[in-house]
């Protein structure tokens, strides 16, 4: 059995807003969500990168204590976006709790804030004991904390997938959720990813000389995907959640369909855990097109992974050019908010849906002079009024994991 899979709810918390209107406004007006890195009194003085894609606006959480007590910051983000997306979907509590809906949600490494507090206890000079580690600290910080907190909050009894693969966390979540619905394993899935403000991730990339350091005094000018002056990635925070549902059921209940997931592919480079790999990425794109039963010339828009590292952007550009030539419009959405890690795939898929709905393509922010090695693509450098019927969302992760999702516009009515 193969079923069509549609999107009936989505929500994001990003450095450029947490509503469709605010996010579209930021995309249309070139507003950056990258801010100075906040001091953590631990690592920041040793980190060269001084910027972070920051969620710096208040979020009105309305969670009961029974739900809050097992949440670290990352699960607050995850549950808030899941709540909004489920509400938008119109699915009933009876269905959500029936076992026919599952969860595919993850984060890079749980809640580093909670983990840091645990380590602080251990390494404190005071006579602290093991009992000072909270009974729920593990539940707040474990790697699948987002998925199970969502399950708990909404009483979800379907399958739970928590694919912790760093930058492909949430693109895998959507992909695996898509497959679960497509093949009839579940009738609906809530999919996505989240990551919280975390300086240890910045330190990891800083140690690998992969972070942006030249724009510490002008955070809004970095990252610079595909730009000649790009100098590395900027870590960010956020969350994205999408409700995927079998088309027939969504249609039958009169749901507002936001888009259709028509294909997904995931592969491994089968080698180096850090260096991007043209062959691996090209293969993932082609596999995705095959899965979506698309020809390359049917794709209008590509949301590139484009982290603004020196090598990564060139490698991705080569792969896109090899498959698509210069036909589809290409945007690196990380220019607006940095690399939101485990949430980037979901956030970029949602922003793509928003742009499909609004009828414009946002440019790659800070792309002023295209690197000659990336110039063979059709880069979007100014807001472009254009319909996007079919889009690809590409994401790649440390460990050599590549994903490619294909999303199609859906005409209701």
């Amino acid at each position: 059995m193969e079923r069509r899979v549609v999107i009936t709810g989505c929500a994001a918390i990003t450095p450029i807003g947490d509503t469709k209107a605010k996010i579209l406004q930021s995309l249309e007006n070139g507003v950056s969500g990258v801010k100075p890195l906040k001091s953590d009194e631990l690592l920041t003085e040793h980190i060269y990168c001084g910027v972070f894609g920051t969620v710096d606006y208040p979020i009105a959480y309305d969670f009961k204590r029974r739900d809050r007590k097992t949440m670290g910051p990352v699960s607050y983000y995850a549950c808030q976006t899941a709540k909004t997306a489920l509400e938008q979907s119109g699915l009933t509590p009876e269905f959500i709790q029936s076992g026919r809906l599952g969860v595919a949600f993850s984060s890079t490494h749980g809640s580093p804030t909670i983990q840091r507090n645990i380590y602080r206890t251990f390494f404190s000079p005071e006579d602290t004991k093991l009992r000072n580690v909270g009974a729920v600290d593990y539940l707040k910080s474990m790697v699948h904390t987002t998925a199970v907190n969502i399950s708990k909050m909404f009483g979800i009894t379907g399958r739970v997938i928590s694919s912790s693969t760093a930058c492909t966390n949430s693109s895998q979540s959507i992909g695996f959720g898509y497959e679960a619905v497509k093949y009839g394993l579940q009738d609906a899935m809530i999919c996505g990813g989240a990551d919280e403000y975390d300086t240890t991730t910045v330190a990891v990339f800083d140690n690998l000389l992969a972070t942006s350091v030249d724009f510490n005094d002008t955070p809004h000018l970095t990252p610079r995907p595909f730009d000649r002056r790009r100098d590395g990635l900027v870590v960010g925070e956020g969350a994205g959640a999408l409700v995927l549902e079998a088309y027939d059921a969504a249609r039958k209940r009169g749901a507002d369909i936001l888009g259709e997931v028509i294909g997904f592919a995931c592969n491994s480079n089968g080698g180096d855990l850090i260096l991007p790999n043209t062959q691996g990425i090209t293969s993932a794109i082609q596999m995705g097109l095959d899965n979506a039963m698309l020809n390359a010339d049917e794709v209008d828009f590509i949301s590139a992974h484009a982290t603004a590292t020196k090598m990564g952007d060139v490698t991705e550009a080569q792969s896109i050019a090899a498959i698509y030539g210069d036909r589809p419009a290409v945007t690196g959405l990380k220019g607006y908010m940095g690399h939101t890690m485990g949430s980037c795939g979901a956030i970029e898929a949602i922003l793509t849906l928003y742009m499909m709905s609004a009828g414009f393509i946002a440019p790659t922010l800070n792309l002023e002079e295209v690197d000659k090695r990336c110039a063979m693509l059709q880069h979007v450098t100014a807001v472009r009024e254009a319909p996007v019927r079919t889009a690809a969302v590409q994401n790649f992760a440390f460990g050599g994991v590549n994903t490619c999702l294909f999303i199609k516009q859906f005409a209701n009515g």
Binding site: R65, R66, K69, T70, K129, R131, N132, G134, A135, V136, L139
Partner: protein
């Protein structure tokens, strides 16, 4: 430690940590307030702080049978008595 002092401290902990204001002293905490095993473990940490002493594993396990505020007060009173607190 006097019983009224213990009661006052327990009610403070329930208000501040568990957001349960003025529970009935004989109400079943699990049934009325969704007080669960995770909360019970958190409560033990607070009781250790209150008494300024670590609980033994048997004492911790004994606490898992507790259902009401009055039973918590009995439990703390007993521990305080054993330790001359």
């Amino acid at each position: 430690m006097q019983r009224d002092t213990i009661e006052k401290e327990i009610l403070r902990i329930f208000a501040e940590l568990f957001e349960i204001e003025s529970p009935g002293l004989d109400e079943n905490l699990a049934e009325v307030y969704e007080f669960d095993s995770i909360d019970a473990i958190e409560l033990l940490r607070e009781l250790e702080t209150l008494l300024g002493t670590e609980l033994t594993r048997p004492e911790q396990k004994e606490a898992m049978e507790i259902r009401t505020i009055n039973q918590i007060i009995d439990y703390v009173e007993n521990l305080a008595g054993k330790r001359n607190i």
